[in-house]
Symmetry: C2
Subunit: 512 residues, 2 copies
């Protein structure tokens, strides 16, 4: 007995539909509208719901995702080889407006249990962070973090973890090029993440180009963190054991302070949610990202901050985002970030077609336009109130576009710098991605992968495609999970398994 | 009682001398040649040994390191503010020649105990390496390496270690730009390092741009390593535990094979020594680098391979290196690598003056010319037989210039890819740098730091500056230490302390 065909069209203008059945549909299958499949169509792939002439528009999400490069008959599989990539939306032609969309209706009464910080932010974890001014000392911090965890951490039960904030920057770089601002502010702002409670230790070498004192700018010193610094080349140290002893003593002071902190009720408006997706498939834009988008609206309605990112994955939908900017200067900032990235890529002879990945394509995504239309669904429907350049810290409540590369680990690193205290990560193909600094909720776009990766995925949004739950129901479910995880009452998969990616800076400048 | 002044001039043409006394020399000190110090001169800093008119050449190592920008009186301190940086040697004007310098006299009878590999190379360690096709799986490999070390490694006493060869490449990059060759071949060639004995496990995700199969090119598959691959998105895995179980089983197979290996006598010609320096000071060019250069000649005379690197730190001395190329095509290759790097830097609006670091300057190095002249001393005196582009594997015995950035951790990563089985690292200011994959011998350029960092430095070449040992004596000492460490008979500081830097790829292309 063959399964009932499930075909998803988001807009009634769509002339392609996505096969949602777990195992795809065989050639010959008759669809509800009378279309008969001319090819085997794998799960997540597109089928022509009408004849599309050569040169005709291929329409998904009500938008042109490309042009047919041959006659495509109704019922045929429609994938990358048949589709010509359209030009990216021109950045100069997008109208700017000072007429914001109406704000969403406020949502009261939601809270979580977080750690209140001196600067008004709230942590969802209580972690001792040890940052570095240069990669040279990464071996030292790794070694010390192991030792602190063994010898000290058990004495401080209210502290969740000790984490080395290692990175590959700091020396052997042209530190005076304009783009060096990006990695430097990223390092500073990661240290100021609410989950470190303002208690940071900086380990430096002493001869590096990123002079460790630069991590102690007045802004950060006064308001964001109370940093202690150890410089290994300090003349007062005779040998490794003295260096280690010194940082162990500093760690004890900061652990003592962190240990005095207790979770308190914080309004949901203290949430800073970073959303991204990785390993997307054709379901991402139908299930997980719209579910995330619904939850995003709830976060915004509750007064919280929500970030979405990934410049190359919104670039082709920017004409749909700019009209959502709260005013023309935010709209312009959004366009400026796209332009900066266009120039950055073209400087290397690359362009947006470097995305999507082979896996995305295998998952049914034909090109970056289709990927972008699905990607922006996670931004929900609220006005875009601000735009951050890479590595900047979030400034406003509401929906912010934090410009980052789409690379999962770089995007996560930059959202961490922006101040996220909870991370929501959508995936269709599956990834073990996780961060030690902030809880990561992993949302699967399809039930097949979510079932397969049962202990690695926290929420199966694939239920939407199978008609088992609505986007609204699952959006509320995700919102509830965000509050529970932020409160430390629910453990996410990557924390249960101890799977943590390294931080990777966005460092668009030369090494020397 | 004040100390006897020690002033070092390498060439009799030098019109500046370097103060070698540990604590510097005070204003008023009378030097042997009748010069009286007009300033306090810290250790490692330069003093004018003659009047230098405004615009006059400042000469060290018999070479012009810059031009005086004011009248400098005999006895005055000479440092960066007084020196105008000369132009870099023009690359077009350097004559190419097919008349190689005479080869050095062969040195017979030296050997070490290494692990013989199927491809003819020899390891100095017997390590199970787990590489990755994309950073997404780095959390997975870290977790698995911990588990293998705990559960399996104790059963295989002849295996030294299990190491995750994590990196930040593999996805979220423009993988088709020409410069993408560099990180990709680096990842492949690291896996082929002799210390992994041809037993490599590749962990991939499945949707990444760097398709894991690309790490299994025929060349590598057949000759360099016998790789096993695990792809986390493989449909046969249900959940993390099955993925973990699968890689644990593969690890056991490879550990079993590695465990059967025993150290055997290998001729010194199987050594592949990678030399670099980091945290240099004004002593580096007088003590540690010439000592390394003497040892380099011994390695070459014994038929071994020796690499020196760091393009930006040899750039200003390239006119002295090209004449040492064994033929005009090697000379041209050297110039081509310089030109590539000039273009790379200028594309970002940077140039070689981005080097040296503040610490170098504090150590007495005034500019990149002075640094370069000291840096090339580690290449010894033998002909340059080959030039490698970044990430390429070594092809010849003798002295090779392996083009890399000067960044310590990137240079080390690229020398690892080139196939070094032992690393010699010179430092003046001190660094905890170390690698888990290959033993790193750390040579201090001055006794003050070497004494201070007694448990982090393996050899104090500062004894040369103090007249306690000659360069020749210490060169032989270093050569002997290389053989002992390669044989596993002597443990280096970073292995004793467990201080290991992360690998950092040279990836001169855009992220997406």
């Amino acid at each position: 007995m063959s399964e009932e065909p499930i075909i998803i069209r988001i807009s009634k203008e769509d002339n392609v539909g996505v096969v949602a059945n777990d195992t795809g549909l065989p050639k010959g299958t008759l669809l509800d509208d009378g279309t008969r499949l001319q090819d085997d169509v794998p799960s997540g792939y597109k089928v022509a719901m009408a004849d599309i002439p050569a040169g005709g528009r291929i329409i998904r999400y009500g938008q042109t995702i490309g042009y047919s490069n041959r006659m495509i008959n109704r019922g045929e599989l429609v994938h990358e080889p048949a589709i010509t990539l359209p030009d990216a939306p021109g950045l100069d032609a997008i109208p700017l407006s000072d007429n914001p969309e109406p704000e969403l209706e406020p949502l009261d009464g939601y809270s979580f249990k977080g750690y209140r910080n001196g600067d008004g932010s709230a942590g969802t974890r209580n972690i001792l962070g040890i940052t570095i001014s240069v990669q040279c000392v990464a071996g030292f911090t790794n070694s010390i973090v192991r030792r602190i965890k063994e010898e000290l951490l058990p004495k401080y039960p209210n502290v969740n973890d000790v984490v080395a904030l290692n990175h590959a920057y700091g020396c052997g770089v042209a530190i005076d090029v304009p783009s060096a601002d990006i990695p430097i502010r990223t390092i500073k702002n990661i240290a100021a993440n609410p989950n470190f409670g303002g208690q940071i230790i900086i380990a430096g070498l002493g001869c590096e180009k990123l002079v460790p004192e630069r991590l102690l700018s007045e802004d950060h010193k006064n308001s964001r963190y109370d940093a202690d610094m150890i410089i290994l080349q300090d003349e007062s140290f005779t040998g490794f054991n003295e260096m280690a002893g010194s940082i162990m003593r500093k760690a004890e002071v900061h652990l003592e302070r962190l240990n005095r902190r207790k979770r308190v009720i914080c309004p949901a408006s203290d949430l800073v949610v970073g959303m991204q997706c990785g390993g997307s498939d054709a379901f991402s834009g139908i299930t997980s990202n719209p579910v995330a988008g619904f939850a995003a609206d709830l976060i915004v309605r509750a007064g919280g901050s929500l970030m979405f990112s990934e410049v190359t994955e919104v670039r082709d939908a920017v004409h749909l985002l700019v009209p959502r900017a709260i005013n023309s200067s935010v709209g312009k900032a959004l366009i400026d970030q796209m332009r900066w990235y266009d120039d950055y890529l073209s400087g290397w002879g690359a362009d947006r077609s470097a995305n999507p990945s082979p896996g995305n394509k295998r998952g049914g995504l034909s090109n970056v336009v289709e990927k972008a239309l699905g990607s922006i669904a996670k931004s929900g429907t609220s006005p875009i109130v601000d735009v951050l350049a890479p590595g900047e810290r979030i400034r406003r409540k509401g929906l912010t576009f934090a410009a980052t590369p789409a690379s999962d680990f770089i995007c996560g690193t930059l959202q961490l710098a922006a101040g996220m205290n909870i991370h929501v990560f959508m995936t269709g193909l599956g990834t073990p991605y996780g961060l030690a600094m902030v809880p990561v909720i992993k949302v699967g776009s399809n039930s097949r992968m979510s079932r397969h990766w049962h202990d690695l995925i926290d929420l199966d949004a694939g239920q939407v495609a199978l008609g088992q739950k609505t986007i609204e129901e699952m959006g509320w479910e995700l919102f509830g999970m965000i509050l529970e995880v932020a409160s430390g009452e629910k453990t996410v998969a990557c924390d249960r398994l101890g799977l943590y990616n390294d931080l990777v800076l966005f460092s668009p400048g030369p090494v020397t």
